[in-house]
Amino acid sequence: MTESIFTEKTTCYHCGDECLSTSYVVEDKKFCCLGCKSVYSILSANNLCNYYNFNDHPGLTRARTDKRFDYLDEPSIVRELVDYADDKLTIVTLYIPHIHCSSCIWLLEKLNKFNPGILYSRIDFLKKQLNIKYDTKQLSLRQLVELLFDIDYEPLISLQDVIKKQNRVNAKDNLVQRIAVAGFCFGNVMLLSFPEYLGLSAFEQTFKHFFGWLNILFSLPVVFYSGSEYFVSAWQNLRNKVLNIDFPLALGIAVLFARTVIEILTQTGAGFADTLCGLVFFLLVGKFVQCKTYHHISFERDYRSFFPVAVQVVINDTEKPVPLADLKIGQRIILRHNEIIPADAILLKGEALIDFSFVTGESIPVSKTLGEIIYAGGRQTSEAIELEVVKPVSQSYLTQLWNNEAFTRQQDNRMQTFNERVSKYFAVVLLVIAFGSLVFWLPTSLNRGLAAFTAVLIVACPCALALSTPFTMAAALSIFDKNLFYLKNTAVVEQLAKIDTVVFDKTGTITTAADNQIVLTGTLSALETELVYSTCINSNHPLSRMICQYLGKVNKHELDYYKETPGGGINTLIGKYDVRIGSGKFLFGEFEETAGQTRVHMLINGRYCGYFAFRQNYREGLKQMVDGLSAYQIFLISGDSDHEKNDLLPIFKAEDRMGFNQSPQKKLDFIQLLQRLKGKVIMIGDGLNDAGALKQSNLGIAVTDNINNFSPGCDAILDGRSFNKLPAFLKFSKNTVTIIHCSFLISLTYNLIGLSYAVSGNLSPLTAAILMPLSTATIISFTTVATHFAAKRRKLL
């Protein structure tokens, strides 16, 4: 039974969405909308239909077809966007969120089939970037972007990318080179040190000096190139009167190097070159593991990456694109279908139907009347409107949040990591033992005293300690990553473990933005269902589309008359039936909607047939998830009115734990209040309206259904599908901290064993050379195995 229903569904050849209409057909191939059809025609006209052979439905739905790129003719904007330009050649890198499969690579690297002016196009799949070189004479940036838009790969061009480009650093590249040098020297020094360990006979003594000299030579780049950052960091911290882990590390490196050079020069020993190189190499590898980056996710987004780059301004009756930063109060702007309102403005002309889903989370568009102020951040979903700007972009209702001190101050609400806390004491104890052994041996012999002093510093060098955190965290991070939870950096794992208060946003966070629940109250006969369907299928209004989806595919009737009143409803004549569908006001004149729900009422030939009510769907497993967090204090703050209070009460238990009608600023203040009450607060939100609270909280998590979508600046991004795993994530983060503590104990044990040799002044290079890599190997394997075990226990693997 069900199977036959599935086969009846036709899916779009291009994007795979269900075809609600049968009017878009080319060569037996069915499309869901004009946009998808036109993409197919462009590709087939250029003999590029292989695109569809590599994957089924590789395209993105193209329900919206109009988009303007006029601003890309503006030289000042173009200059910001391109990497390089002269009068022959332009190089530009574009971020294209839709890149997702091999078809994308195939098509986008064949761009010059569309236009010979494109000389080179190369995709970086993971970063979702397209690097293009094109002939400036044959093609403009605007034409290029329009071409990409036509074939359904619209680049995301935002103000923030423009800004980001200017302060791009490649710290990781540098680190890789340091590791390469350290590794190279480590390998060679190990080889050269082996003869010494195995014992050299008397006639081989000349080799000993040769090897020694080579060892010094190899240690030089390790200390002064690869390891230099430890000295810099230790020095900076000392000047700020902070003892961090870099201090004992730098001390260890310096002492190792000094003793190696002196022993070899005075021919009193073989030195510790192998320990030195190994130490620096492992430390740098630890650092490398720690700085895992997600190329395709940005944690630093603010309103600028959400807003357009430029907006159409009317100057002397002509339209001109103006960069957003130059927008002034009093200017008149024109916004078309699907464009975002960049600044608070007054509606002057046109029918405004604004979708504020991103600002408030409310997914149903709001209609505005002439003269009303429209806040920035809404998306116009109806015809073109004209507005007068009343506040500059940075001072608007939404964006002024970024002027709050939470965004300007340095992150001082961060909690200290375990490593930071321990290394302070570690450094002190280390120095005490070192000087203690020096003083103890001094009366006996200066040499022995110095030997003991340096040996303590070498052996106690907290290599394993420095590695335990990065390796545990990196393993934890990759487990979170597998569960679609993306952390900004490794320190976030530790923050996560210390949380005691959880604050949820409502709309978009605990509710899903996409599938709103539609409830039909009243009954429709088969004929009535067809009538309603025929009426709604002609409207582009989101509610009409949802009703069509709800009703499924039924017979369509010819319409004799169709009139849509924006913000009101639809009136159609089908044969002898007069169908009216819309808001209560539209159907009955004066009408007060009860229950605070959005409802669509239906009248057929004057008979009331009931209404569709739209309710937001809570995420799957919400109740179990909140129950799983019973050890935490839980709050809910929402920008919405409290009409869902009764639905939420069983989940959140207490009424005073839920706050409604909260403005973005109030949300931020609420977090601040909790923090003043000594709470370690995690904020879980989604939209721009939570941005302040996310920033203010000790740890901000943005929930999103598509990680390529806009998500506000935060410490972690959680894919909506993994939302119910949150308790497991929190428990797992606690486990990782325990693992770090354990590995700290292990590394301490090694240090104590080494110290027992060291204080007596009898540390042989061989002992050091065995102890150091052994402790490192133990720590790395322990942390990796233990983290995986913990993840299995929490069912995250």
Binding site: S102, I105, F125, A180, G187, N188, E204, L214
Partner: protein, 53 residues
């Protein structure tokens, strides 16, 4: 056993060449994108349309 001096010299030199080769690869961005080429190689060159012959 003096051959050891020569051999070690050779081995260090050889290792240096590889280190420099790695540096070169790093500088010219050969390690920047380690994923896309693995997909790219699977895409066949399209066959020329028959009528053009």
């Amino acid at each position: 056993m003096n051959i050891i001096y020569f051999l070690i010299g050779c081995s260090v030199l050889l290792a240096l060449v590889f280190l420099l080769a790695f540096f070169w690869a790093q500088r010219t961005g050969q390690n920047d994108d380690l994923y896309t080429p693995s997909v790219r190689i699977l895409l066949d060159d399209e066959t020329e349309p028959q009528d053009k012959k």
